[in-house]
């Protein structure tokens, strides 16, 4: 089970084992990681699972689709490395990834 490290805005780190096939959002919500809400349950319809992916991991997270890019309009402090955690599937390729959370989701 790949290990994912979710880093809160204040630097608090949450190390979570997320089963392959689940999304980064599912993994965070199931282990009650603060800072990722996932209001719509993974429908790519709410922008409350916004995270930042470090440049070196971007290639392993897959490309974002147009819908995700559009929905990110509603996220707070969007940057070039912003993604919605519900759209990234966990696999062994993401073992040890550190993802960073924005200041807020609403």
């Amino acid at each position: 089970m790949p290990k994912i490290i979710y880093v809160e805005q204040n630097g608090t780190e949450h190390e979570v084992q997320v089963p392959s096939g689940q999304s980064l959002m599912d993994g965070a919500v199931a282990r009650m990681v603060p800072g990722i809400e996932g209001d719509c349950g993974g429908l790519c319809a709410c922008a409350t699972c916004h995270i930042y992916i470090p440049e070196e991991w971007k290639g392993r997270c897959g490309e974002s689709e147009e819908l995700e890019q559009n929905i990110l309009d509603f996220a707070f402090d969007v940057k070039t490395n912003s993604r919605l955690a519900c759209q990234i599937k966990v696999s062994e390729a993401l073992e040890g990834i550190r993802v960073f959370m924005p200041e807020r989701q609403y």
Partner: protein, 384 residues
């Protein structure tokens, strides 16, 4: 023209929802009465103005309101319309959040967006506050020392925390939906089912660990464990959910057994010593007394918590001799309380047997060098 058609403009204005109409570039051309009430802007102030006056561009979000009106008008995705809200502002400057419904109208001599704005500020704040308090409660449960699990009315597990995983060895995926019997040794399953039924149908809402006494659980590996559990019932609508907080008491039981064994060993030494021994607190009262000391007392009566000098040492009717003896004992106690070991010989008139004793009082100090206890010892001298 029907009654409705003739009154359409008036009805639109009287609509209980805040309604506005804009051009495709965002210029407000219509604003109904509910919209003025909701926003605080009058018709005069808002008509002809850009919609961004009502729904300003955020400095920290990219959302282009007019572009999204177009998207939602063409593809009113219910998920997005439910979860994506727009930041708005009242005339007073107060920030608000609006849920939006948009349609495109091309029958008004041009193309327009017909927009309904529902103010969900308070609703969203309450939902957020509730989610956050749930998150705090869930995180407390997750890190708690006790396993927490819930079962539904079919006795199937419907909540399982990390400690439960550790205690019973089943992952959340393995446990969820499984029958509670999986966590119990075969021989107590029927009894446990009956006990659950009794509790479910009873009037008591909860039972704490102490009330239930020890129970037995079974680890995935087959290992049997002594457990304690608190249980509570909650009706969610007409569905009953029983939740338990479960604690492994293997270690505690081992400590209890070890302690009892040590206690038994000390008691053996203490009670079977030839010397008379008593443990006193720093007021001189007896905390413990051994068998040899009890046998020195001519009268068998309770002595615990009585001062050493108040015990029935003296069997003689000579009151002055007795009070002189008590005074000497008290004096030695005060000497010992100063931190000195007191060693003396004394005689005890125990009725027919006069006893010559070798008597000592030894102070025991705490970490702050204050006298905490005194050990009183007496040994019969040879020939007495």
């Amino acid at each position: 023209m029907s009654f409705i058609e003739s009154k359409a403009v008036q009805l639109l204005n009287d609509l209980p929802e805040a309604l506005l109409i804009t051009t495709v570039t965002g210029e407000i051309v219509y604003f109904n009465r509910s919209a003025t009430t909701q926003s605080g802007f009058t018709h005069k102030e808002i008509i002809g103005d850009h919609v961004s006056r009502l729904l300003p561009q955020s400095s920290r979000r990219k959302v282009d309101v007019v572009k999204w009106f177009g998207r939602w008008a063409d593809n009113p995705d219910p998920g997005q319309l439910r979860y994506l809200t727009l930041e708005g502002v009242r005339k007073s400057g107060e920030p608000r959040r609006y849920q939006v419904r948009v349609s495109r109208s091309e029958d008004l001599g041009g193309i327009y967006f017909v927009i309904v704005l529902r103010d969900v500020t308070e609703e969203q704040e309450q939902t957020t506050a509730l989610r956050h308090s749930q998150l705090i409660a869930n995180r407390i449960i997750a890190i708690g020392e006790d396993a927490v699990l819930s079962i539904d009315q079919d006795n199937n597990i419907c909540f399982w925390n990390q400690r439960a995983e550790k205690l019973f060895g089943y992952t959340e995926k393995e446990a969820m939906g499984a029958n509670i019997n999986m966590l119990l040794p075969q021989n107590i399953r029927d009894e446990h089912t009956t006990s659950i039924q009794t509790f479910s149908s009873g009037k008591q809402p909860s039972r704490s660990m102490g009330e239930r006494g020890e129970i037995t659980g079974q680890h995935k590996s087959g290992k049997i464990m002594p457990l304690e559990a608190s249980i509570t019932k909650t009706y969610i609508g007409d569905r009953l959910v029983l939740s338990a907080q479960v604690r492994d008491i293997t270690q505690r039981k081992k400590v209890e057994v070890d302690l009892a064994e040590r206690e038994a060993r000390f008691s053996a030494v203490f009670n079977h010593a030839v010397e008379a021994i008593a443990l006193l607190d720093n007021t001189g009262c007896v905390l413990e007394i051994n068998q040899a000391a009890r046998e020195m007392l001519p009268i068998d009566e309770p002595v615990i918590n009585k001062p050493l000098w108040g015990l029935p040492w003296w069997n003689s009717s000579n009151g002055s001799e007795q009070s002189e003896f008590e005074e000497r004992l008290r004096g030695r106690f005060h000497q010992a309380m100063l931190g000195n070991t007191v060693h003396t010989r004394t005689s005890l008139d125990a009725g027919s047997d006069a006893l010559d004793l070798d008597f000592s009082l030894t102070p025991i100090f705490n970490n702050s060098n204050h006298v905490l206890y005194l050990i009183a010892e007496a040994r019969k001298l040879a020939g007495s």
